[in-house]
Structures are given as structure tokens and as C-alpha cells.
């Protein structure tokens, strides 16, 4: 056997190092955190295109994008926060809290809907600030702090509607002053490419919010000073602070952004249906985190991409509808997501190692 290692036909393997020669462009591409998610999105798209005939209908593009936006609007700030080295487990229920706050305040005091919306914004930002500030004051891991916030908010989501209205859903607000204009701003939809032979693609304004948030957050992360600080704060908070980065301010800012997005999605949910249920949003925080991780964000912070997180949200949207269109039992969705999370993490890890190997 040992003679095999010295046979001449083995020699070329070691002398011509094919890994180092063309490395740069490929390594640079593989080094991008969103590459794994992009490949995954294409694979899942191809999978459902082949097994689910309804998936091929162009009109369903609007529905898939809508489903994706409902996750993506939150996945974007959650990803930024994760790159900044923190978690927010309260992100799912915070959406419902914001929607409940707007509707209950407007309904209880008979305000214009817009007043409720603005008050809800203040509350959402306050929740985000509280998360960041508690993190800074207590120096506890954000996992713990926001787990606390999650339970506090979830309790309030159930207790307050019960207290005010003895109900688990908020009162319908669609006949209140300001509802129509607010609906137009937060929940209207438009149909494109409609013709006699084609029903058109209906795009909800939430898709626009999602795309805008993605673009703005991606530019902030990669092209601004704040983005540099987010990477540094997540990568090594102590080193960042020692270099002169205001780490606390950066992290509180990230929690505020989560609060803002929770408000945006909360307002969309409320105005789309005119009512919200107390137990909505529970468990969604994990889907946001899954989207961010699938999109290439490192759980330990300091690395990741906003675009990737949005692709992660798109994967969720495609999977959610693809399973339905394929005629499979929707109950399997979560199982599928769980498998995908682990797979995506492994793939991302592998891809990064390839890139590091140059």
C-alpha cells in the first residue's frame, strides 16, 4: 500500500495547487454571508415549481411576497440586532402588543385611529429602549432580558383586552375616524399587469415596507459608520468600546429599530383585519431568528447580512405556500423549518470555511 503514495500519477495533485490560483473572485463570493441563503432559495423555488403546479401561477407571486413580507419586516431588524451581538425574543409578541395598544387606546378613548397609531409607536419604541437599557444596566445576556420582556408583553397582551373588554380579540375599529386613511397607508394593495386573460399580481403595501426596510438597513449596515459600529459591537464589544465605538448607544439603537419594525408590522396587521387577537405573534420571534440565521447571520454576532435575512424570509414565504400548493399537510411547515435551520447553518458554516481556505 505504501508504494501507492509514491507512484508518479499521484504527484500532480500536490504540485499543481488548483485551490490557490483562481481563489480571489470565488472566495470573495463565497465569503458573502447571503450566498448560502440564495442557493437555498433557488433550490426551494425549483422544488416547489416541480411538485406544486399552483406554485407556477404568476398570480401567486403576490401571495408569496405577502407571506414573506410578514416575516421579512421583522427579520431585517432582528438580523441587524443579531449582527450587533444581541437577541430579541420579544420581537414576535411585540408586534401584537403594538397592534393591541393602537386599537385599544383608540377604541377606549374614542380617539382618531391615527392617534392610537402614534401612541403605539411611542409604546413600541419604549419597549425597544427598555430592552436595550435593561441589557446595559443589568449586563445580563439579551436572551434573558428579552425573554423577560416576552413574558411581560405576552401577559399584557392577554390581560389588558380581558380587563377592558373581557375579550381575547381587540374591538373592530373599521368604523372609526381615520381608519380609511390609515388602512391606505399601512394595508392597501395594488394589482399590476391585470388584463383580460390574466388576473394580475396583487402586491400589498407591506411588501413595499419590507423592500424599503431591507434596502435602507443593508445600506446602513455596509455603507455607513453606524453599520461599522454594529459589526464591531457584535464582533467584540470590549474591543469596539476601547476603540471609541459607543457600544451602548449602538445596541439601544438596534433595539429601537426592532421596536419600530414591530410597530410597522403591528399597524399593518391591525389595519388589514381591523382587529387583532391577543395570542397572535407567539413563536414568530423564532421564525425571525431562523430567517436571519438562514440568511447567514452568526448567532455569536459580528457577521451577517440584511439581504440574507430577507432571502430567509422569502424562503419562509415560499415554503409556507409551497407546502399548501403541493397539497401536503401544512402541519409539517414547522418541521420543515427546523430541518432547514440546521441545514442552512451547516451550509453557511461550510461555505465560510471554504472561503477562509481561499
Amino acid at each position: 500500500m505504501s508504494s501507492a503514495t509514491t507512484t508518479p500519477d499521484r504527484r500532480p495533485d500536490t504540485t499543481t495547487d488548483t485551490r490557490t490560483a483562481p481563489r480571489s473572485p470565488i472566495a470573495a463570493l463565497l465569503g458573502k454571508p447571503e450566498v448560502g441563503a440564495l442557493i437555498g432559495a433557488i433550490a426551494i423555488c425549483v422544488l416547489f415549481l416541480s411538485v406544486a403546479p399552483a406554485f407556477r401561477g404568476l398570480a401567486n407571486v403576490g401571495t408569496i411576497l405577502y407571506q414573506s413580507s410578514a416575516i421579512g419586516i421583522m427579520a431585517v431588524p432582528v438580523a441587524l440586532l443579531m449582527i450587533g451581538g444581541e437577541f430579541d425574543l420579544s420581537a414576535g409578541v411585540a408586534v401584537t402588543s403594538s397592534a393591541l395598544a393602537a386599537s385599544m387606546l383608540a377604541w377606549e378613548f374614542n380617539f382618531n385611529v391615527w392617534v392610537g397609531i402614534l401612541l403605539a409607536l411611542a409604546i413600541s419604541l419604549a419597549v425597544g429602549f427598555a430592552n436595550g437599557w435593561l441589557l446595559y444596566r443589568t449586563r445580563l445576556p439579551s436572551f434573558l432580558v428579552t425573554l423577560g420582556t416576552y413574558f411581560v408583553l405576552q401577559g399584557a397582551n392577554l390581560a389588558v383586552p380581558r380587563l377592558i373588554d373581557d375579550n381575547v380579540t381587540s374591538p373592530k375599529i373599521d368604523d372609526m375616524a381615520g381608519f380609511d386613511s390609515a388602512h391606505a397607508v399601512f394595508a392597501s394593495s395594488h394589482t399590476f399587469f391585470k388584463s383580460d386573460s390574466f388576473e394580475g399580481i396583487t402586491i400589498n403595501i407591506s411588501v413595499l415596507f419590507w423592500v424599503l426596510l431591507t434596502v435602507v438597513a443593508a445600506v446602513v449596515l455596509t455603507r455607513t459608520r453606524a453599520g461599522n459600529w454594529i459589526f464591531a459591537a457584535g464582533g467584540d464589544a470590549e474591543a469596539a468600546r476601547a476603540s471609541g465605538v459607543p457600544v451602548v448607544r449602538t445596541k439601544i439603537g438596534l433595539f429601537l429599530f426592532v421596536g419600530f419594525a414591530a410597530w410597522l408590522l403591528g399597524m399593518h396587521t391591525l389595519l388589514n383585519f381591523a382587529t387583532v387577537q391577543s395570542n397572535q405573534g407567539v413563536g414568530n420571534e423564532f421564525i425571525y431568528i431562523i430567517a436571519a440565521v438562514v440568511g447567514g447571520c452568526l448567532l455569536t454576532g459580528g457577521f451577517g447580512s440584511v439581504i440574507g435575512a430577507s432571502i430567509g424570509a422569502l424562503i419562509y414565504g415560499m415554503t409556507n405556500l409551497g407546502i399548501t400548493y403541493a397539497g401536503w399537510n401544512v402541519d409539517w411547515l414547522k418541521t420543515f423549518l427546523g430541518i432547514m435551520l440546521v441545514l442552512a447553518t451547516l451550509i453557511n458554516m461550510w461555505v465560510r470555511r471554504q472561503a477562509e481556505r481561499r
Binding site: T224, R225, N228, A232, G235, A239, R241, A242, G244, V245
Partner: protein, 289 residues
């Protein structure tokens, strides 16, 4: 000027090629408060029950290299962390450019023109070299104040090249560099951004002979250009190559505070080794001569 500084002129190889320009004429006659960029008066620091520093009187002069030496755990890093804004002192006063200051964060120190290379605080490993280099000092352009990545990359490349580090790809994550290369990035950054004071905590500990030489040269050059330099090292020979002023810390207190013409490298080595009494005796004999 260099004659007044002491006997071992052959050890001053790094400094003798040029006379200091920005230094006040009286700079090395006697230290007075006016040209101290940083002056500590009776500064102390406790970590809970640990008394890390007590009664430190130190003045960092513009255009001079102040070397701080001492055993492990003597309090050297604690001392510079106070000046760098990472810790607040718990007693005494710190004057920066003549004004009493207590930095609440490193950012305030950075804004006061104090740049630091820490012993234990590395760079963000997953961030690229150029992003680390310009961290908290980003160059921005245009109405949107976006990062001027091209310019920052070019400057990073140039500054590293000047230190003898050839790194064509400054987009690489810092984590993929060797320990010494990382240290060079941190040093190059501090030298580039240090406007008034440059603090280096054992910068040559991880470096090879060539890079150590480059760093020492930079330390000397920074002082010549008018900066106050605080240089922490375990190596008395490195200290003597560039230092104008030597401070030895022992168990959180000053054991020695001498200018270059008051001490030789042998005495410095002995002091560090703990032979205080012997050294003191020799110093007395030297005085009597």
C-alpha cells in the same frame, strides 16, 4: 540636546538621526505642568477590594517617550486604561492639556487625541482589516455621509506598507491575520490617529525582531513629531532605545521615576529585577563621583 540626555548615545540609534522639532526649548530641563499633555497627580484606582494603583504622579510630555516598566500585575495596564478612558480613576486628578478630566468612555479619550494600543483588547476578528483600521474614525463623504471605502482601503494599505506589512487584500477579516500582523494593524492605527498622545501597552510582545524595530522607530518618530508617547514594555533594552523618561511600577506604586540622564540601562534592568537597594546604593556612589 542629545548630549544632555545621557551617556549611552550608541543606544539612541533610533532617535539620533533627527532633532526634535516641536518640542519646547525648555522641554527637557524640568517638567512643568504647562507642556504636560497628560499629568497624573496622586492617581489611584481600586477594583472593588483590589487596590491596583496608589499615588501615581506622572507627567507625559509632548515630544517625549515615557516608558512604564514593571512586573506582571504591577498595574501598568490599569494606568494606561485610566488615560485611555477605559477605567475611571478612583482618587487623585488627571490633567489633560492642563484641564482636570475624568473620561467616561474611550470615545472621550479618542476625541481628546489619545490613541491606544491595548495589550488585551484585540480588534474585531470578523471585520475586515480596513474596517478595523478606521473603526470609530470612519471617513465619510457625500450628502448621505456614506463610508468612503476606497479611500479608507488605500490609506490602510499604505499605512501598513509603511510598517513593512505587505497586505494587498485589506478586505480580509482581521481574524485571518497572524497575531503579530494583528498587532501591527492596531499599532499602525494608533499611530495614524494619535493626535496628541500615543499609548502602547507592550506593543512588541508578539512581534519579530524586524517589526519590533519598525515599531520602536515609529515610537521615536511619533515623539519627534511632537506627540506624547507612553510606552509600556517588559524589555528594558527596548525601553532604553527610545525612552526619555522611565517609570517603574511595583505593586501599584511608583518605584522609580527618572529621566534618561539620571539612569543607565543596567540600572533600569536591575531596578526591574527588584534590586532596589543595590541600585540605590550604586546611584549614591554615582552621585558622589
Amino acid at each position: 540636546m542629545s548630549a544632555a540626555r545621557g551617556s549611552s548615545s550608541e543606544e539612541r540609534a533610533y532617535r539620533d538621526h533627527e532633532e526634535p522639532k516641536n518640542v519646547e526649548p525648555e522641554a527637557d530641563s524640568e517638567h512643568d505642568a504647562t507642556d504636560s499633555v497628560i499629568r497624573l497627580e496622586g492617581v489611584g484606582k481600586t477594583y472593588g477590594t483590589v487596590r491596583a494603583l496608589t499615588g501615581i504622579d506622572l507627567s507625559v510630555q509632548a515630544g517625549e517617550v515615557t516608558c512604564v516598566l514593571g512586573d506582571n500585575g504591577a498595574g501598568k495596564s490599569t494606568l494606561i486604561k485610566i488615560m485611555a478612558g477605559l477605567h475611571e480613576h478612583t482618587s487623585g486628578t488627571m490633567l489633560v492639556s492642563g484641564k482636570a478630566r475624568k473620561f467616561g468612555s474611550p470615545r472621550e479619550a479618542v476625541e481628546a487625541g489619545i490613541a491606544t494600543v491595548y495589550q488585551d483588547l484585540a480588534l474585531a476578528p470578523l471585520m475586515s482589516v480596513w474596517r478595523n483600521f478606521f473603526l470609530a474614525n470612519e471617513i465619510r463623504k457625500g450628502p448621505l455621509r456614506l463610508l468612503d471605502a476606497d479611500r479608507m482601503k488605500r490609506i490602510t494599505r499604505d499605512e501598513l506598507a509603511k510598517m513593512g506589512i505587505d497586505l494587498p487584500d485589506v478586505d480580509r477579516p482581521v481574524g485571518s491575520l497572524s497575531g503579530g500582523q494583528r498587532q501591527c494593524v492596531a499599532i499602525a492605527r494608533a499611530i495614524y490617529f494619535g493626535a496628541k498622545v500615543l499609548i502602547l501597552d507592550e506593543p512588541t510582545a508578539a512581534l519579530g525582531v524586524k517589526q519590533s524595530g519598525v515599531v520602536l522607530k515609529y515610537v521615536a518618530r511619533a515623539a519627534e513629531s511632537g506627540l506624547g508617547v507612553v510606552f509600556i514594555t517588559h524589555n528594558p533594552h527596548h525601553a532604553f532605545l527610545v525612552g526619555d523618561h522611565f517609570v517603574i511600577l511595583k505593586l501599584g506604586q511608583m518605584a522609580l521615576d527618572a529621566s534618561r540622564d539620571e539612569i543607565t540601562v543596567e540600572q533600569l534592568t536591575e531596578q526591574m529585577a527588584g534590586g532596589d537597594e543595590l541600585a540605590e546604593l550604586r546611584h549614591e556612589m554615582h552621585e558622589a563621583d
